[in-house]
Amino acid sequence: MRRFLLARLVQAGVVAVVVGTLCFVLMRVLPGDAAMRIAAGRYGPDAMIAGAAEKVRQELGLDQPWPVQFLEWLANLVRFDLGHSLVTGAPVIEELKVQLGASLWLAAAALLLSLLIGPAIGIVSGLRPNGWADRLGLAGSVTLRALPPFMLGLILMLVFAIWLGWLPPAGFGSWRELALPSLTLALGLAAVSSRVTREAIATVAKAPYFAFARHKGLPEAAVVRRHGLRNAAIPVVSYLGLQAIYLVEGVVVVESILAYPGIGHALVHAIVERDIPMVQGTALAMGLIFVAVTAGVDAASAWLDPRLRRA
């Protein structure tokens, strides 16, 4: 157990440094005058940028040689200080708290929703392969996967916000604003997870231990509950982990269409405005989330499948 955690920590460290460095280098070699862009980001296109840019340059010490700036960043990183946003001037940590927080809420809600939809459908289809439920599920999943997320988002917006008028088309704060974006994401996820679950269940249903459970005389419900779900959950969980990773970045589209203040939204702006600390911070956060998620998945799988606990 301790070795597991240690390994993860090391991995996290490596990811942090690699990702951060990579962003730094990329942002550095980007064309265009950073100070100008930051100024534009700050004061908007109506302002007289040129003058502002000079002030920005001095204020942020952008004229320092880049090794100095990089070492500074590293040093701060060790102190868990991600620096200040060049544009808003707020500490990156604070910005992340808001934006990453929002995205995580969104992601969590989406994941939960997709868990309510996907596996449920998957189990129903998997227990009767090629039954009508299965075919319906397949059709649905293929259709959903063929829809670009932004189109799905727009469709849902038209249906729920305009025609039915149930939910606000945009914004954030209460669950009502959360509903549309998370549903958009959830449907996309469920489209795949339902099939994964279906495969898993169908495979388990043909396993000798599933048959033996029946031959023991257990009632069907008990067979499915005690010997079906857990075994089927193993592949599903490891797959969900993968999804969760794509989720965190998949939110960007939904965010920009549905005016949701998430990490993707922030990332796009940060890159356009050359807000290096924000980009590094965001990437860092995402990288660490990746590590955390994989760790979580490993733990979950180990809990589900004792065979993985060997050694």
Binding site: A40, M48, G51, I162, P168, G173
Partner: protein
């Protein structure tokens, strides 16, 4: 199946809470495109000014006439080198402290040291004397009060700044005070309770920044927002048909112009610039893209801008033959591929623009297609707005489509001063300058007497029309959608202040 049960429960829960939630508490919901970056006045002061959280010394009414705000009156010394602004006695900041001349002077000094418009005023000193803020100048500058209207010069309480002089929170003096701020998208306001103008009609306001124009329209239609700012032209059509909504439109002193590099071989000759102007189908653009034929910019300023629109000026219009003729005279011959050329050089230019204003890229593509017809090959590059200033400075800019605001101070003089100075400016002329215009602008800056100004203004416009240092394309309008739940909404073309305080519930 357990999951099935979950599903049902969830569904029921959602429906129920939809019902319960549909009964809204009385909160004025405002939606606009502007995100709240930092809270420094120079950055997002306009939001706090428009939402009446913070105030400036001087304000302007929708016609552009200067009106008292925190300063109940002001006057200039004979030589025009010293201005006195008297702070009204009954003004208090949201933290309860009175608005003193010293506090106001501090805010202004800070603004002057920053990057805002005040940096362009020849100020030698800003001091507080009793209830007066005294601004001393190096040379007469009649437009000073107008400059103070700009959002960069809002007056904040001393407690708003930290030791280093950085703004940490917005403590203004307006009818609304900040309840909560979630950058970059959300701002919640409540009745400040101590505004000199009396209590606002509606005491709770929320502002949400929504970047996508289409989404803003949907929010208006779905009734999720009471007041929505700057609608896309296309949605306006649709919204007008909606019985539950009022659409209010005002032409604003913002013109979309084609900034050309008059130093480059392509545009060095005024005939060439005229040719370009002839090649452009403004009417088509206004009709098809802006959905309002009246926005066709026949000259730099729209009729609404009193004293700055010369009605009998020959309009800029499309005339392909004239365009071709002028280009031919300028020595451009069509090449084999239909693209013009002059001693081996193809008439092929890059048109920079940016998407901060969603209509710019479409207009750019329209221009691209139209210029192609007279044999000019244009490559559109949509980038960051900062590229235009930087390319202006290193002189590599060829053409840029920009949206220029002429009411940064209510009086366009300020902008003209910026844009058509001796060596041009990043949002104005490039490689072009006119001594006559410089003289005109200097005079305009020095006097505030409209009788004196009128001929000067007229001449300035004519000059710009003849010389076309930058080519007007279309004027702009501000479309506001108000739900009929609310009444008393009026549009401020200068976007100084949205008058939220006077909005009330219709019922």
């Amino acid at each position: 199946m357990r999951f099935a049960r979950f599903l049902v429960v969830a569904a029921v829960a959602i429906c129920l809470s939809t019902v319960t939630n549909s009964a809204e508490e009385r909160l004025l919901k405002v939606v606009g495109p502007w995100e709240i970056g930092g809270i420094d006045p120079a950055q997002s002061g306009y939001i706090f000014s428009r939402l009446q959280v913070a105030e400036t010394l001087v304000s302007a009414d929708p016609t552009g006439k200067l009106i008292p705000a925190l300063a109940e009156q002001w006057s200039a010394s004979e030589d025009g080198l010293a201005w006195r602004f008297t702070i009204r006695a009954d003004a208090t900041f949201h933290d309860g402290t009175p608005v003193t001349a010293e506090a106001a002077a501090a805010s202004l000094r800070r603004a002057q040291a920053g990057v805002g418009v005040l940096t362009q005023v020849p100020i030698s000193e800003i001091a507080a004397e009793g209830r007066d803020v005294v601004v001393r100048l190096e040379k007469p500058f009649a437009a000073l009060p107008a400059y103070l209207v700009n959002f960069g010069n809002i007056i904040l309480a001393p407690a708003s700044y930290d030791a280093s002089g950085k703004v940490t929170k917005i403590i203004g003096s307006g009818p609304y005070k900040v309840k909560s701020l979630t950058p970059p998208l959300k701002l919640e306001l409540e009745n400040s309770g101590n505004w000199w103008g009396g209590a606002p009609e509606i005491s709770e306001v929320s502002y949400l920044a929504v970047g996508q124009g289409e989404t803003r329209a949907l929010m208006a239609e779905s009734g999720e927002a009471d007041l929505v700012f700057s609608m896309l032209p296309v949605s306006v059509e649709r919204l007008k048909r909606n019985p539950k909504l009022d659409v209010k439109i005002a032409t604003i002193p913002r013109t979309r112009i084609l900034k050309v590099n008059a130093a480059s071989p392509f545009f060095d000759d005024v005939e060439e610039r005229r040719a370009i102007s002839y090649a452009i189908d403004r009417a088509g653009i206004a009709k098809a893209i802006l959905r309002n034929p009246d926005l066709d910019a026949t000259q730099l300023f729209p009729p609404a801008l009193a004293g700055w629109h010369v009605s009998d000026l020959p309009p800029l219009e499309r005339n392909l033959d004239a365009a071709r003729r002028l280009l031919a005279e300028a020595g451009w011959e069509p090449g084999s591929d239909g693209i013009l050329g002059q001693d081996g050089e193809r008439f092929s230019v890059t048109l920079l623009t940016y998407s901060n204003w969603p209509e710019l890229p479409p207009i750019a593509t329209a221009l691209q297609a139209q210029l192609r017809e007279v044999g000019i090959d244009v490559e559109v590059s949509v980038g960051n707005s900062s590229e235009i200033p930087s390319r202006h400075r290193d002189g590599t800019l060829e053409m840029a489509l920009i949206s220029r605001l002429y009411s940064i101070v209510p009086d366009p003089t300020g902008t003209l001063l910026q844009d058509y100075g001796p060596e041009g400016s990043e949002w104005g002329a490039m490689g072009w300058s006119s001594d006559e215009l410089l003289v005109l602008v200097d005079k305009l800056v020095a006097t505030s007497d409209s009788q004196e100004r009128a001929p000067l203004q007229r001449r300035a416009i004519e000059l710009l029309q003849e010389e076309l240092p930058s080519i007007p394309i279309t004027w702009s309008e501000l479309a506001i959608v108000a739900n009929q739940r609310i009444a008393g909404v009026q549009v401020d073309p200068l976007e100084v202040n949205y008058g939220l305080a006077s909005i009330r519930w219709a019922d």
